[in-house]
Symmetry: C2
Amino acid sequence: MANINPIRRAEIGREKRARTRAQLIEAGHALFAKQAVESVTVDDLIKEAGVAKGTFYVHFDGLEALIAAVAEDLVQSFDELLQSGRTSITEPALRIAFGCSSFIDKAREDPRWAAVAARIAATSPKGAESVRRRLFEDLQQFSQGLPDDGSAELRLEIVVGIMLQILRALSEGRLSSLDRNQVIAAILRAIGIDARHAESVIARLSAVSPVL
Amino acid sequence: MANINPIRRAEIGREKRARTRAQLIEAGHALFAKQAVESVTVDDLIKEAGVAKGTFYVHFDGLEALIAAVAEDLVQSFDELLQSGRTSITEPALRIAFGCSSFIDKAREDPRWAAVAARIAATSPKGAESVRRRLFEDLQQFSQGLPDDGSAELRLEIVVGIMLQILRALSEGRLSSLDRNQVIAAILRAIGIDARHAESVIARLSAVSPVL
DNA sequence: AGTCATATTGACTTTATGGTCGAAATGACT
DNA sequence: AGTCATTTCGACCATAAAGTCAATATGACT
């Protein structure tokens, strides 16, 4: 009789589970990239993932749970994207510029990612909350620096609004010849940085994150 | 035997139809204000409208047709909103400022309208297209006026992005103490108008459209 | 080759949704 | 009160989607 090490058994199981779960999440990305999140069904998902229906319910309680998992996956990709600048840049305006330019670069090289990010952001405000919060903190710090009126709350909506729209445009094939720095400049001016200062931030940005 | 005037008959019928149709569209507004367009069902609609299922199909071929009708209804409300400024204002920047401020005023006094407008804009690009086009024409004209680089296409996405996000924020109860002119100023700066000139546009805007 | 903990499967049940149609209601008119 | 063009009604059917679970497959190990 074969009495196998139960710890090893569990490990093998975990790996298999993880692979299948990843397939399901990947299928979510693929589908959310081409249709509204609310219109995706469990059957769509399992067909796309090449998996049986029961398997879906082993991994997720329902569609909401899968959407949340895709959102989490996305947030993780944001973190990886922003990690390099997060620690090294201290000036708020440059931090914001760096974050936005990272998003734009990523969106240009991976329009599917842009589509999913825009859709998920519109769907589950909970998932997008962590990204919003970090941006908001930068904006609060930035707002202290100038005597200008205008709340960090409003600036937050403005930056988020522009970025989401750019993501949507890129994912839908518009703005194919987009100049990244023009977007950054517009954002910086919108939140109250004068045109001259905006250019200087962009110049420094190019050193941290060269234009593609 | 009563042989009634058939023309009069038709007229009565038309009025009744129109009322029921309006109920259905109103139900659409109510539902789209609180949930994703794609998640609304025919049963939701008829329950909200207080009407039988068959009646729905007498008036609309299906959900898509109703969504289109709601979108059209919305575009009509845009037209009414913008009509006064449309003819009298010729300066592009001021026209844009006027349009945006009209939207913001409307959204503040009717958050439900804001929610529906934002959702429909995201759903049916066809419906939003007429509004986009007019804004784009103003932006093209505006772009000619200055030696600045940057395309009208990009400016369009920026203005639309900010406006949609403001609509969303207002409809979700954020930015309750919003200063309309701060948003307009941010938009004008974002599209390349320097801060001083933006203030002058806003000053003139106040004459055309007084702050609430 | 045989074992067994674990994961996967897909047929099945239930519920939700889209869509149809003959019957009933409406209401202005005589 | 009776007529009739027109609209509305809601029970009904067919299909789609959600959700369940006993049976089957997997694969590392002896």
